[in-house]
Amino acid sequence: MNIQEIILKLQSYWSTQGCVLAQPYDVEKGAGTMNPMTFLRCLGPEPWNVAYVEPSRRPADGRYGENPNRVYQHHQFQVIMKPSPDNIQELYLDSLKALGISPLEHDIRFVEDNWENPAMGAAGLGWEVWLDGMEVTQFTYFQQIGGMEADPVSVELTYGLERLASYIQDKENIYDLEWVEGVTYGDIFKQPEYEHSKYTFELSETEKLIRWFDDFEGEAEQALEQNLVFPAYDYVLKCSHTFNLLDARGAISVSERTGYLARVRNLARRTAKRYVEERERLGFPMLKQEGGVQHG
């Protein structure tokens, strides 16, 4: 099964389970969790089910396209179900079956892994799912987002598409994966991997990055003052990515690092709080779709 088919299968499966099929978000981010479809929509009482592919940038993992496993940008297939359904583990295992992975032919385990993203004030409990010893999915019940208690609790499933594909296709090297017949992962991503790594580690200018961070932070502040949550959040993401570039460049000391993280966290928290306030002002419109069921 090629990557394109894997994505199509997962989309079709989760669509059947009532998920909105969203598209990747157009601001750089380190993980699908940071997509506003997750970070913001998991806040507050409104129900929400969504699935999407998220290209995720981790500048420090860039390896000039030379490492068989580590990349500047990888792909996550992200599923959010809010509130978490009682049969979510069974739903997840059925999604593996949809990919042709029969639990009886393999060893599937749920191994404790508590996820935390301090910069986003987010934390959850759950597992990494092992398929014959390989971690293929991060399975998390959000307990806290943007520093706020998650209520109701959302469940997040993050499939590592490259990992899953390299297992299914039995390939050692990520660049040999088949994206679709006749096109490899390398055909599409090898050049950008090299160029992004070169830019990140050799060309990016610290002074500019620091200036951009300050500017993005200012924009987020300004948008927040006007109660414009989504634009504010875009700039929080920009800050986060700029910080990641600085970090990958090795341009900031340990104490500076703590300072930058605190600035991102502070913005993320305020944006989260403002989002809930704005939704409340609108009367939590998506609660109505649940047949008027109020949370509590």
Partner: protein
Amino acid sequence: MAERDLLLEIGVEEMPARFVESGRQQLKETLEKWLKNHRIGHGPARSYATPRRLAVVVEKVSERQEDVEAEVRGPAKRIAVAEDGSWTKAAQGFARKQGISVDQLRLKDYKGEAYVFARKHEEGQPTADLLNKGLAEILEGLHFPKSMRWGRRRTRFIRPVRWLVCLFGEETVPANWAGVTAADRTRGHRFLGKETVIKTPSDYVEVLRKEWVLADVEERRNRIREQLSEMEKEQGWNIHVDEELLDEVTHLVEYPTALYGTFDESYLELPAAVLITTMREHQRYFPVENTDGGLLPYFVTVRNGDEHALSNVARGNEKVLSARLADARFFYEEDLKLPIEKAVAKLDDVVYFEGLGSVGDQVRRIRLLVEALADRIGLDEKARVSLFRASEICKFDLSTHMVDEFPELSGVMGKEYAEKAGESPEVARAILEYHYPRFAGDRLPEGTPGAVISLADKMDTVVSAFSLGIQPTGSQDPYGLRRRASGVVQILVDRGWSNITLGELTDLCLERLKSDGWLKRDATEVKRELAAFFGLRLKAVLQEEGIRYDLIDAVLASDTGLPRLVVEKARVLGEEVEKEEFKNVAEGFSRAANLAAKGTPGAEVNRDLLEAWSERELYAAINSARDAFEAAREEQDARGMFEAIAKLAPVIHRFFDDVLVMAEDEGTRMNRLALLGEIKRLTDEFAAFNKIVIAS
């Protein structure tokens, strides 16, 4: 009374392996406690656990709660009974409140006065009803270090609760908790089993076995052990079973099947510790050795399931391990390219305690401390060179990829990389050994450089933490300060360096912090806290030596600066208390000490006032005992110290027999008390003899 067995099962999504055992025990204890509190008699209880369930079966549980006869005291008779002998309003109110008629009230004496009593008979309720109402309370009584919420529920538990079984005999108790109603249906193995009905509690284990679940923890653990030893026999291997890992694996599976896989032989060039740690930490694999203890290119893993398609599972795991080992090799090769000096320089960017600078700063403090210690120990030039070099680079491996990935390999990798970089064997060994002891019962550094650096590193960490007001409380000791302080004491006991006392070590560390500008609190106060803290550690070390508590108290009341000497003194006392003549010695010292309390503390003996022969004899004996005592102390010779003062005992007794201490003449009296004061001062330097319990 009729009895039935009781089964309680909580079905959950996979619990973290490390909490399963505690959950199993808690469920059993909480249920037993609840039964007791509710006066429900029962037989033995057995508890079970897998990653997906906690269960307990209690045999012979009474069908009804015991009746209870209660007597409740009401108002006093003078308030309850009117002059005409009728019940007052107060008495009637009391009876009403107790739900009985006034005729049933009784008068009885209570503490010398007559009171009204109501005797009540409370009939026991059916156990099934009580369980129905009480199940939530029982289950809320389980606590885990990390609990969570799910969906819209308010309940917190270790993982989401998905089913409950509550079976009393063959009767289902349909109690509700966490949004689930208890029933008689359990779930089997996630993939191999199915949902199934349990008819009666005693069937529990067998019903689950049919559904591919081994609910008994011991059985599951033994099954894995047997599979491993069978594999050992078949393959001619030696599978090293780490008990902690075995526990974890036991709680990762409901139905274990061990299998093995292989990895590329070229990875065997990596240090064994790297291979073993990679397999254990990342993948929970057991490493495989040949019969000589050399690693082989195989690993053993335990699958949660049966033997079907084992080759798939093996192949998948091989693929994962080979990627992990490729990472490890990459780290190793990169680390070898990093010059040690560069690695040391990087430590300036690693935060030590927030507010105490970097690890680089700490290493510089350790280097200076080590130099001060080398002077005291009197190390020769060659030893000093190794010691100083090792102390300067002791933490360089914290900058390596491998230690970043596996912090527990710090020391092991340091030694490996230092050897490869051409450091001397003494230096390389010290980089490993300064970590010892890492836990209670761990080995101590063998080489002197390792011991000195270990002392300096641990002492600096403890003093630094205290200087910031960070101290262990109760079971909380996130920085491992107790372990480190015990390490300091153990090394001092082991080495017996006579020129290094705990107090001086503390001072050296505090002065260093102060002159570097890190000390934020009052030094005297920090020192006092540290003295108390190390006193407790020393006590713990003495307890581990198996020394009697009263002897521990006796030696700890004396000078504790040199832990080796303290331990030796306690050992000598331990031998002496067993002897017949010890009673005589201790009595003499105690009697002298008791009387001395009547004198002026610190008073000097006036030789001219010594009248009786026994006074003069005692005075001379004290002086020679002191000389001998001090000479022995110089040598840290606890036995010599004891013998020096023990010689005083017969002289003391002769003195008491000959003279009346409390003489009428004040001058004579005070001089005799001063003489006894001298004895107390001298013996106190060994131990507080009055704390020693002497069998009569």
